[in-house]
Amino acid sequence: MAIAYVVATCKADTPLMAMASGVYEGNAPIGTAFPYVLVAAPSPGVDSLSGNRVRLMTRVRLQIKAVGYIDQGAYANLTIIANRIDALFGNQKNPATGILCCYREQEIKYPDPKLVSGRQVQHKGGLYDFELASTLGG
């Protein structure tokens, strides 16, 4: 549910989509044009339970990042996308959707280990924690 919310929010954001070629879950298809936004749930969510074992909420950690070239002035675009991601999910509350809150737990930034078309690719974004109402599941 959290991934669907993030993907939908990203795709509905005009400034973000003006910079990114697309938004993908898990992995982008081979040959996807850079830069793009990648959303992944690398670890399962953790439930918070009441004393009598009723689920009160679920905490899910998502990796949301921009992936793209960093040479020939492309790094500035990558930074703009990462900053836009942070504006959307860095410190938000949206109880009407079941997203009780979301915030960035940790920044991530690292180079891809292999050159793509002879150019350096970087991953830039963050690990975001989402606290979800029990009705959403995870």
Binding site: N27, A40, P42, S43, R61, Q63, K114, V121, H123
Partner: protein, 141 residues
């Protein structure tokens, strides 16, 4: 006039700090185990170098570099410095390619075994801290 203490707060404080330090160190080793188990659960073990290179650094010890020799082009990252106090401990990845397996690349999906291991260790730490809390309450009655 003789010098006498009015209470045992300094001893109580030290005992609390010692207990917290033990919980932190135990949690760090638990987390190391959870991360290594998760690497295995996700079938990411080939040579075992990445799994065995996950290490713990506390104020008292480090398990850095106790794994197998790195394969092919892989190498062991530099050891991180230890914490300055005994209520802090670090769990770190020694293999240079751990970040790619954990966070993903353009061709490898993110596996997140570090975060999963941390989450699994968090519950144990909360329970141990709560146990200390309970013991202090009992001692106060």
């Amino acid at each position: 006039m003789s010098e006498e203490g009015f209470n045992n707060w300094s001893q109580i404080g030290q005992a609390l700090k010692d207990a917290q330090g033990q919980v932190v160190r135990k949690t760090a080793f638990d987390v190391q185990g959870h991360i290594q188990a998760e690497i295995g659960n996700q079938h990411l073990v080939d040579t075992g170098f990445m799994k065995n290179a996950v290490y713990v650094v506390t104020s008292e010890e480090s398990t850095y570099g106790q794994g197998a020799e790195p394969p092919k082009d892989a190498f062991l990252l530099e050891e991180i410095p230890g914490p300055g106090d005994d209520t802090t401990a670090y769990v770190a990845a020694g293999a240079n390619y751990t970040i790619y397996q954990n966070n993903g690349t353009t061709t490898i999906p993110a596996h997140g075994f570090f975060e999963t291991g941390m989450d699994q260790g968090r519950a144990g730490m909360d329970q141990a801290m709560e146990l200390i809390n309970q013991k202090m309450k009992e001692a106060g009655h």
